[in-house]
Amino acid sequence: MSTKNWPLWEVFVRSKSGLEHRHVGSLHAADAKMAMENARDVYTRRQEGVSIWVVPSSAITASNPAHSGELFEPAQDKAYRHPTFYDLPNELKHI
């Protein structure tokens, strides 16, 4: 038996109520078609979704955890960037 693994794929599923596809996990598959079938079996067996995307994990460029200091921390003390200082009229919904 070959010890070589199939490539890794990232799986995104859109739920019935959701508008966007959300990352749900990853799996191994030889190609996109198999990745799609595997995703159906592994990630939608409890009625989780109505649409699936599969993306080769190698196509994803991830931020480097070592850089999280300069990337994310400067936002921490800038609470004024959150629009929480306005009084919203009652008529406004879905904000």
Partner: protein, 253 residues
């Protein structure tokens, strides 16, 4: 007439139960996490169908015998009372066997259910209607793998051809009409197997060709399962399947 309907339901249910059991043996032992889950999903689908058939069978039998339940039908019969075909009791030799057996069953199962959706018996028509979506996916899964492995590496091709050569002589029994099936067909309850057969063989031929696998040349099929005459593998399945109920009668958990 009621007894023939009962026997017919056993034929439908037993195929799904024995194949479902074979697939359940793979739980935790599939070649990869993904195929392991896929095969056990199929197993669960089949057991869901079995429950529908046996609940109805218990109802049919219940008019004369109120001791019969879906569990007693599943667990307390003797080997010769099981009416599954020989194909589905064949062992899990390797992944090629598992996939080929699955494909040979699914390609028959789909046209069978299409026919049963037209059944005059409302219960059978409803079960067929509910099951057919599952079976469409089973067939898609297994035929995809037949093509992938048949038209894959030299190793996968050889293993597939070995499995096809071994299992092909069992497919005729699926569409060979027994007296019970003939009676059910004439009453508009059962499927017309001659129509199922032409669709079945056509599908098998197309997929094997696409998979670059050759169709074995031979004369005559193995049969007997539908009449209760099984291969040696069958009793081993039953001893595992029935162990708990035989050892602790009427146990529940």
């Amino acid at each position: 007439m009621k007894d023939q309907l009962y026997q017919y339901l056993l034929m439908l249910g037993d195929n799904a139960m024995i194949l479902g059991h074979r697939l359940s043996e793979l739980c935790g032992h599939g070649p990869s996490l993904e195929t392991d889950i896929a095969l056990t999903n199929i197993s669960l689908d089949l057991f869901g169908q079995v429950r529908n058939y046996f609940q109805y069978a218990a109802e049919v039998k219940g008019e004369t015998n109120d001791e019969v339940t879906e569990d007693s039908i599943a667990f307390m019969r003797y080997p010769h009372e099981y009416r599954n075909t020989l194909l589905v009791e064949q062992p899990n030799k390797d992944f090629a066997f598992i996939i080929t057996r699955q494909f040979f069953f699914d390609a028959y199962h789909l046209p069978l259910l299409e026919a049963l959706m037209q059944s005059k018996d409302e219960q059978i028509a409803a079960i067929a209607h509910k099951s057919i979506k599952e079976v469409k996916y089973h067939l898609r899964f297994s035929s995809e793998w037949v093509k992938r492995l048949g038209d894959g590496t030299a190793e996968s091709h050889n293993r597939m051809q070995t499995a096809v050569d071994y299992l092909y002589p069992y497919i005729g029994e699926l569409v060979q009409e027994t007296p019970i099936e003939k009676e059910m067909k004439e009453q508009g309850i059962g499927a017309d197997l001659s129509l199922v057969r032409s669709k079945y063989y056509e599908k098998v031929k197309t997929v094997l060709q696409e998979a670059t696998l050759s169709t074995p040349q031979f004369f005559g099929f193995h049969d007997g399962g539908k009449k209760g005459v099984h291969s040696e593998h069958h009793s081993h399945i039953l001893s595992t399947l029935q162990y708990m109920q035989r050892t602790y009668p009427n146990m529940e958990w």
